[in-house]
Subunit: 313 residues, 2 copies
């Protein structure tokens, strides 16, 4: 029998490497490989493991004549041409379960940080002032939290809100019913009507790109708190700046921006992104929501199981 | 019947003022009154409502010849000589229920802010860098959270940890059993043995002052995350600096310090407090945990009910 040849293109937990080897595959583990190198050798492989570093566009997939599966440690597949892969019957394997809990925690951290002005209160106090009257906090209790997208991270966030005496409502275009009771399923109209805060949990697709525009934001009845741990382009920089300036978004907390490779920004894009990040009503973290110290291991476990299942092993 | 005369010494919600008046009491509402003024007129009153601004030391209580009750909006009574009051059969009424939820939320906010380096990651990102590899986060899931003091704010914190896949253990010297299932009751030995994080929920008393000293901290098996939303003097500045420097406390997040009136610090005390607040492994907020926008109303509701019950109304 012809042995499967697998290329691993970024740092992964050893249990994935060892698991594939034990399953009889030949593994080339090149964690520092570049995109150009991948493009040149991808035709040799029947499987490839990627993170966000390596993109698999249509032209790369066209060269991947032996490829049977793409395994992505994580969930976002916006850098892979899934349609082209599917047409070539290449399986796309993801591990959204690997970091959903960490993302859910991060959303609570961001929400409470906004409501309690933690970064600003911390800065002022560490600078040796004690402005106890300036930083009166807003309670989470009593608020209604709206979630759009109820796949893996949405429920993980909702689960963590259980103890806070909040109402959690969620909309998911592609789910007929929810498998848990952490959130109440609603239509978008009701979500616009009731939400005090909005957190989006969506993949970046043709459908969701620029989905959160000014018209969308203005449909909310209340001025809202906004959280984005998904992808910047779903709620673009410009939309957020305008909504923060108008007050329709009271405060925003984001883990993603339009372009996270700052070197690739045009001067105009850089100016907008800088304006957003510097906004006084915005809290930002550098795409770390799902990157806890143990998510790498979980991604490895999930991917290994799915790769072996796909390979009939 | 002789009408009761009540002095209110700080801003309170109107429902307390109106409720006392409707119950037939004469209310003097002097929200800007000074300590000296209180000392001079307290003998006229059968009831007094205070926050932290007015202290009722033994000599003040000695003058309060008609006083039947002291109502404190909040929970800490370290500025009231409860023993002297009790000896004069003056009832001490507190409203810990008023802000327990807000304090519980703040503890979660502080814990997640430490584990996810929110203030530091936010500062670096707002300064237009995107250091996604620097700020790898630590998950709360899987940790064991130790709570000392399981009165009102302890359970409020434990309740809010329900959805996070953590173990919550608590010690309370004066409680034979807990009325909820948010935490497992343990002895101190077990708390020292198992905790990954410690949050204290204690009043400042002769017994708890300086309770958290270096010897106490060193009894923990693990290096710990530490949260103090109670009173600074329970875990003094100097202890925290030493434990942060030794690494026994990995990170601390505090809402209280030894002396929150910075004008009253000696040069030596100021130097120590400044060293603590500036410590890179410390997050601090200026005693705002319980000061949400709605706690004033809740304090008023709770105090009114208790005052009327005490007065047999």
């Amino acid at each position: 029998m012809h042995r499967s040849k697998v290329l691993i293109t970024d740092l992964v937990d050893n249990l994935l490497v060892n698991g594939l080897v034990e399953a009889g595959m030949d593994v080339d583990y090149h964690k520092d490989i570049t995109q150009l190198e991948v493009n040149n050798i991808i035709h040799e492989y029947s499987g490839i493991v990627i993170t966000t570093k390596i993109g698999l566009t249509e032209d790369v997939i066209a060269k991947a004549e032996n490829l049977k599966w793409i395994a992505r440690a994580g969930s976002g597949m916006d850098h892979v041409d899934v349609k082209a892969a599917t047409e070539k019957r290449i399986a796309c394997i993801v591990s959204p379960e690997g970091n959903a809990g960490s993302v859910g925690e991060h959303c609570v951290a961001l929400l409470l940080s906004m409501l309690r002005q933690i970064p600003e209160a911390n800065s002022s106090t560490k600078a040796f002032t004690w402005q106890t009257d300036k930083y009166r906090v807003t309670e989470l209790a009593g608020l209604t939290i709206g979630i759009i997208g109820y796949g893996h991270t949405g429920p993980a966030f909702a689960k963590r809100l259980q103890g806070f005496d909040v109402k959690v409502i969620a909309y998911d275009k592609y789910k007929m019913q929810f498998e848990d009771s952490f959130a109440t399923k609603v239509e978008m109209e009701e979500l616009f009507e009731r939400s005090d805060a909005l957190s989006i949990h969506l993949p970046l697709t043709v459908e969701t790109r620029n989905m959160i525009d000014t018209a969308f934001i203005n449909r909310f009845k209340n001025n809202i708190y906004f959280i984005n741990t998904s992808r910047g382009h779903i709620a673009p920089n410009r939309t957020l700046i305008d909504a923060l300036n108008s007050g329709k978004i009271k405060q925003a907390a984001i883990d993603v921006v339009d372009n996270e490779d700052f070197d690739l920004l045009t001067p105009k894009e850089q100016s907008v992104q800088r304006e957003l990040l510097a906004h006084p009503s915005l809290i930002a973290t550098p795409h770390v929501a799902g990157k806890s110290s143990i998510t790498r291991k979980r991604h490895a476990e999930v991917l290994l199981a799915k790769i072996l299942a796909h390979s009939g092993l």
